[in-house]
Assembly symmetry: C2
Homo-oligomer: 171 residues x 2
């Protein structure tokens, strides 16, 4: 009886904790959303600090990183791999032709909608399964290298850059 209770509660716990991590992830996306929709397009060409990344670069970077979740979580082909050159593989201003902020906004909204659709169907077991950048052999030895861990690291990664973006508007 005691064991059953413990296990029963533990099951609820795992489910609840996964939901809480998803809420944390979603919270960071909402912070970024708010920033992305707050200003005129020209504003996003400002640097977060003198000589540092422009807002448009960090926004493109966050889109490319979110888009890569499709691959690393095994959810399907990436939609915007072409963003990597300007926003992941190279520093800001290295690539001259980049998408406009309105194009980026559309991609941001689209990738996040698609991710949330996938996430809403994923079970605790799905989240605890290996991500696509770790081999089955390595995952057997290091079971924390699961999909939920990817989402955790991406959540703090977003917070890191949102902290920088918010320096522009005085927050």
């Amino acid at each position: 009886m005691a064991t059953e209770n413990t296990n029963g509660m533990a099951f609820d716990y795992a489910d609840r904790i996964v939901k809480q991590v998803l809420t944390a992830w979603d919270g960071q996306n909402k912070h970024a959303d708010k920033f992305i929709n707050k200003y005129d397009d020209a504003f996003y060409l400002n640097e977060v600090a003198p000589g540092k990344n422009r807002a448009i670069y960090l926004i493109g970077h966050l889109i490319a990183v979110n888009d890569d979740l499709l691959r690393i979580l095994g959810l399907g082909e990436r939609l915007y791999k072409d963003l990597d050159e300007a926003f992941i593989d190279n520093p800001d201003k290295a690539i001259q032709h980049i998408p406009s902020i309105s194009e980026l906004k559309e991609k941001w909204n689209n990738i996040n909608k698609i991710l949330n659709d996938h996430f809403s169907k994923m079970s605790v077991s799905d989240w605890m399964s290996r991500h696509m950048s770790v081999s089955e052999a390595d995952f057997a030895k290091e079971p924390h290298r699961n999909k939920l861990n990817v989402l955790l690291t991406r959540t703090t990664h977003q917070a890191y850059h949102i902290g920088q973006l918010n320096l522009i508007n005085g927050d």
Copy 2:
């Protein structure tokens, strides 16, 4: 049988996920540690961007917020509540007399050691119990307002400010 297996796995899952959240928390502390121990004392008087918070302010802020975990997680009395005036209740430069960076370093190391000692003894059930800023009645209706959720929000909060701190050194 199937149920037992499911529950048994779920128990492992909850335990594993809590560990992963603790690792994420610890990772942010390590990033902050690295920053705090990287430069001469005078460096920390720099602003993260012109007219923005100084590094010493953000460091004091992170210490005060970590210290407040003792209270909100019900682990005991706060050690450094006197930091709140300069680093939480007021913006940077509003309070003239603040501790030196070497005093702050000592407090940072001490509070994090104490927190980690507490955390190493906490079970999944402990983490899923209510935090001290929510009433029992509200917690019954909103069980996600638990201690683990506090740790999640503090983890993204740290990442947010570390992103800002790292603007100073060109990262």
